[in-house]
């Protein structure tokens, strides 16, 4: 250990080697700990029910079987419907939310808008105080009558004050002269925002789009509160119901006309989890880079 290793002409001292060896070990172990649950659901979804009942869930399929997928997909319409609802909510919610938040964020940076601090505080205050769940629930479901309406899943999450402030922070870095000269050339405020500011703000727009898409995709709480009609269930809530009760899995089988005395419930729980999570895991390698960039962006701007 005491012997110094040379790399790139730089001397590695003993304390450095000790620290690095320790770091590599700790980080590797943590990474494995992060991956084990994923490995477990993947492996168990491909394991026969009998094997799970005898040996339990495992990290490697002891007895490979596609039975649970065959049964989970026996009634694909239910799953496709949940997918469709989730995609609609995510796409509409994200596009609408990014538009609303970025537009408001831009106005809050305008030096020639005298009420910008007042409005900023008006938005910011909602992060300090809230009415709580009960009035919110009564408002959306009874007063606005959005029960069993996908708008109940889109509208409440559309405005995110944090995203708005993130946009504001980024756009404050864009020189005001750009707005000024564009207006001098006769462009209206909205045109300035859309044509001149938005292209320059692409990094922050991508970031808030990603944040909000993730939030919409993974939401189950609003569905649980406001949706009782099975045809409007979103993916995560659909999965939650299947996980919470065997009865719900059986109901889907009955609808599909599959009649088997004992459902492979343990392996089906895992294959249904995979079916619901699949696209995110598949997309993850492509989007995580932008996500990390966005996080870095946010922390630098404070």
């Amino acid at each position: 250990m005491a012997k110094a290793k040379r790399s790139k002409g730089r001397e590695y001292s003993a304390d450095r080697i000790t620290f690095l060896a320790f770091s590599y070990t700790v980080i590797t172990l943590l990474t494995i700990a992060c991956l084990i649950p994923f490995l477990m659901i993947i492996s168990s979804s491909f394991t026969s029910e009998r094997s799970i009942l005898i040996y339990g869930y495992s990290l490697w399929p002891r007895d490979f079987s596609l039975e649970s997928y065959r049964l989970s997909l026996a009634n694909p319409n239910v799953i496709l419907r949940a997918y469709w609802n989730t995609i609609v909510v995510t796409v509409v919610g994200t596009v609408f939310g990014v538009f609303v938040n970025s537009m408001a964020g831009y106005v809050l940076t305008r030096k020639d808008f005298p009420w910008r601090n007042l409005f900023a505080y008006f938005f910011f205050f909602t992060t300090l105080f809230s009415g709580g769940l009960v009035p919110y629930f009564i408002l959306v479901s009874n007063t606005l009558g959005l029960r069993n309406n996908l708008l109940a899943l889109i509208l409440p999450g559309a405005v995110s004050v944090w995203n708005m402030l993130l946009v504001k922070g980024f756009m404050s870095g864009i020189p005001f002269e750009i707005t000024e000269s564009a207006k001098m050339d006769g462009a209206g405020d909205f045109t300035v925002y859309l044509r001149f500011i938005m292209p320059l703000a692409k990094p922050v727009i991508a970031t808030i789009a990603l944040f909000s898409a993730l939030a919409f995709w993974n939401d189950w709480f609003n569905t649980m509160l406001f949706i009782t009609d099975e045809r409007l269930f979103t993916l995560q809530y659909f999965l939650q119901r299947l996980l919470s009760s065997v009865r719900n899995i059986r109901a889907i089988m009955d609808e599909a006309g599959v009649d088997i005395p004992t459902l492979p419930v343990q392996s089906m729980k895992m294959s249904l989890t995979i079916i619901v999570t699949g696209p995110i895991i598949f997309l993850y390698p492509f989007i995580q880079r932008y996500f990390i960039q966005g996080l870095t962006l946010g922390s630098v701007k404070g």
Binding site: S130, G132, Q236
Partner: protein, 305 residues
């Protein structure tokens, strides 16, 4: 004076229009529910609505506090959040420092990607994983224990186990996200300072202690302040998905948010959960204002607002 601001308003009409969608949505979904906290002083019934329900003064609060629930859920919410804050911050900073010191680009990228992965899945999926790991009959952990001759643990029947499980699960989901923020802060530090410390013969531990850590204190402070401001707001998704309605576990796992939700779902009497919600909002508000005020007194630059 008025004429001039009217003129400015006319000049800014497009800007007002551009603020309008966000303004309306915030009024509807944030400010109107704030007015709805008046429900906390009512014996609210669906049938009568907000304007038809009778006023009962502080009866809902009296019930909430005398039932013993207020103490239990406040204690749990507070203590879990403290545990989350300490555990997450420590591990995230440690991971960030370690990954920052590691030279291999490839190793950095791969581990970062893996550590962030849990952030991307929903809490429903996390609960499915937890079931796979912890359940008594086929859980991975109990099976592994059995292989090594240990006794299986029934965590779903053991309230004390969750005092450890919940912070760990929460850490599992949060470790990547937080450490990336700290890594960004470390990357922004002055590299020259680090090099000159090395030239001056500081070993790696001294360098981390005297240069890296002090350098990221602003980031640590901001994130800690934000967390302290939320100390009476529980992570509903975590607690609900991990524990659900398992009554056996509630003494150690019931937080204000899950309590309010359960009351909303299972009782026709909504004044009571509304009172608990108002209590929570008031506590949060006071905590945020107080923390911010104290920080302002010490050092204005670190205050949140």
């Amino acid at each position: 004076m008025i004429a001039r601001s009217f003129k400015t308003a006319v000049r800014c009409r497009t800007l007002f229009l551009m603020l309008l969608p966000a303004f309306v949505l915030v009024i509807v979904f944030s400010y109107i529910p704030m007015a709805g906290i008046a429900m906390a002083f009512q014996q609210f019934r669906y049938g009568h609505g907000f304007f038809g329900s009778p006023w009962v003064g502080l009866a809902n609060f009296r019930f909430f506090f005398s039932s013993g629930m207020a103490w239990r859920v406040t204690r749990n919410t507070f203590l879990y959040n403290i545990a989350f804050l300490i555990l997450n911050t420590t591990v995230q900073i440690t991971v960030a420092i370690m990954i920052s010191e590691i030279g291999s680009k490839w190793f950095k990228r791969v581990t970062q990607t893996c550590l962030l992965l849990p952030h991307f899945i929903s809490w429903v999926v996390v609960s499915s994983m937890a079931y796979g790991l912890f359940n008594f009959e086929n859980g991975l952990i109990n099976n592994t224990l059995a292989v090594f001759g240990g006794n299986p643990i029934d965590v779903y029947g053991n309230p004390r186990a969750w005092i450890f499980i919940l912070p760990l699960v929460n850490l599992w989901k949060a470790v990547g996200f937080g450490s990336i923020i700290y890594m960004a802060a470390i990357a922004g530090l002055d590299a020259e300072l680090k090099d000159s410390a090395e030239v001056d013969g500081a070993n790696i531990f001294q360098r981390i202690w005297h240069i890296t850590l002090p350098g990221i204190i602003p980031t640590i402070l901001i994130l800690t302040l934000l967390a302290i401001g939320q100390i009476f707001r529980g992570n509903f998704q975590l607690f609900f998905q991990m524990v659900g309605d398992n009554g056996l576990l509630l003494p150690t796992t019931d937080i204000i948010d899950t309590y309010v939700f359960r009351s909303l779902r299972f009782t026709p009497e909504l004044g009571m959960p509304a009172a608990a919600g108002l209590y929570q909002s008031a506590m949060s508000f006071v905590t945020i204002m107080l923390t911010n005020y104290l920080v302002r007194c010490v050092d204005k630059d670190y205050a949140l607002f």
